[in-house]
Subunit: 337 residues, 2 copies
DNA sequence: CCTGGCACTCCATGGTCCACAGTGCTAATT
DNA sequence: AATTAGCACTGTGGACCATGGAGTGCCAGG
């Protein structure tokens, strides 16, 4: 069905439309691309492409516009990730170079990515699984409540409040804290569940209830905190785009943390670039956007994801290049710690 | 100059314009408000109001629109803060009721405020001055770096990385940590500087350099962290408004944390509602917005600020009511801890 | 299979016109 | 002196229309 030239035409349509944001016609195509055939031939190819659903006309006597299916084919088979320019690579280095604080790294990364792509950037905090416990602190808050703070060796801090406890003495908390630290300090987070398995048995019966509550919150926080924290930047870049959907919907979707998490979570191939185009997105408000996401991590251990949200008519090769480059660089920085 | 009736006319103009977003004419005013005079008289008043700069015409033969100066007068003398409806108060309670975790409180507060006002809400994390130190943790990270984590009794956690140190032994860090905790555990943050004053003298000379570095970062973090953290919600509500300024500018301004901090910082009367209207705002991009902000705190100690950003043509009484109510409620919740 | 030619379609642009909302002014009224 | 009715005047926005142009689909010839 789709011979070489038709694919070339599709590629040209996508590229031109991304550039100009206007339906592209056969003449313009023949002029700007070395297809070696006349507009009439291109027209014939376009009819075929349209029949197969890769492009569409806004109305008769307008040029063609790629459909989601067209973008999909373009991304899968017609384009390659575009390496960054030297200037862009310098920008990454000067932006992220010698940053140490985790919050700072994440904050800068997300701004950098937004700036490079001129779109909305999303960065997820690195997962905790690879970290080990440095210290657990228990803080009695009064009112039968305790705050638990877990500090990891990578410098991330998790805090949780445990409440609905029976009255609890200062002494009991101290004992429990000491015991807890003895049990799990130095532990990888993944190993914590095993490490605390027999703790309740060591606690004097009158405090066992508290110990159990604390432990259950601890375990729960280890699970949840994986993907909890997400940062966003560059929403102002949305203003430049005109969406099919009201762009209020887009903003609303981006304000929902759960949506963002799921958005990044959709990435199928770990350690690969994933692109989700238009209607492929699960969320109503994002049906006229595309999401480019990638894993980042240390070695081949994936820690979390980063991504970019933009209009379906985005510069896929360039965006993918930026996302990949930033992901790699962040991985390096985290590894250097 | 401005007799009672002219003020009433101004008030009516503001109210109608806020409702309809269309220039309001003399006839419409006479119809909808019990001013007791004819449109012609209102016209005369309007001329006076226009001469004094309180209202303006987009063009001849259009109705009048309030100027920033007009809104200012309206806010200062012609309106009163509107108490929330019972439903709204219930909403606040069910939204914030029995929330314990500080992050959770702040996150919910900002969403609540955005929802109540249908505008962009800003909430600043409570200042640390009133808190006391629960525990200080020092974590050697390797590479001559140490992470410091300060846990306060209100459950807030501050972390900082100290680097550029000479090589440092595990042992030395342990000693320093113990010493530090002995010195400042239980201290109010405001008292920390005094409490650590003579610490370096107690440290063995070979580790004094490290101790000094750690202390200086500690002191610095106490100063900075006051106003550092700010949360935003409801940007999607901006989409419904049409700004004079491109609303990309507004979004851009709101992405700058420093701008937000300064925006809230402008509040002059502590423990009072502050309104900054249009051109009064220091930031370019926010010249067509207004900011309503308030302190919140426990007792009469102000801890931080919350605020709302919206178009100059906002419902000031309603917005002010919401901001004040939420500020008070958050104060209560924090006090209950 | 490609291409030039041609008739056709639809949109975007710009012009004209008109109704409307609202004004400012004047003269009359209270 | 303040208010009001009446009236002429004026931008704006919408409706309507004509026009040019971009782009198509199709056909017939190479």
């Amino acid at each position: 069905m789709l011979n070489e030239r038709k694919l070339a035409v599709l590629r040209a349509v996508v590229e031109d439309f991304v550039n100009t944001n206007e339906p592209v016609g056969s003449r313009a195509l023949a002029d700007r691309h070395p297809l070696g055939v006349s507009p009439a031939t291109i027209r014939n190819d376009m009819v075929a492409l349209e029949e197969d659903g890769y492009i569409a006309q806004p109305h008769t006597s307008a040029g063609r516009v790629p459909t989601d299916k067209g973008y999909r084919l373009f991304v899968d088979r017609l384009s390659s990730v575009k390496p960054l320019s030297a200037a862009e690579r310098r920008a990454i280095e000067s932006f992220l170079g010698n940053t140490v604080d985790l919050d700072e790294i994440v904050a800068r990364t997300v701004r950098l990515l937004a700036q490079l792509t001129r779109q909305v950037a999303i960065v997820q905090y690195p997962s905790l699984t690879r970290s080990s416990v440095q210290h657990v602190e228990l803080i009695p808050l009064g009112n039968q409540r305790i705050m638990m703070v877990v500090i990891t060796d990578t410098g991330r801090v998790e805090q949780r409040v445990i409440d609905g406890l029976e009255a609890v003495s200062e002494r009991a908390v101290n004992d429990l804290r000491a015991m807890l630290n003895r049990a799990i300090a130095g532990c990888y987070l993944g190993d914590v569940p095993d490490a605390v398995d027999d703790l309740p048995a060591q606690v004097p019966p009158e405090h066992r209830g508290i110990a159990v509550s604390v432990l259950s919150v601890l375990l729960e926080s280890l699970v949840e905190s994986h993907e909890e924290k997400i940062v966003l930047a560059g929403t102002a870049n949305l203003a430049a785009v005109d969406f099919a959907a009201s762009f209020r919907d887009v903003l609303e979707a981006l304000e929902e943390n759960m949506v963002l998490i799921r958005l990044l979570g959709e990435a199928k191939d770990p350690s690969m670039l994933t692109v989700s185009i238009g209607e492929e997105n699960f969320h109503e408000g994002l049906r006229s956007t595309s999401v480019v996401s990638a894993d980042y991590g240390v070695g081949n251990q994936s820690l979390a994801k980063i991504g970019v949200v933009g209009p379906t008519r985005m510069d896929y090769p360039g965006t993918m290049g930026a996302v990949r480059a930033v992901a790699r660089y962040v991985g390096q920085i985290l590894a250097g710690q």
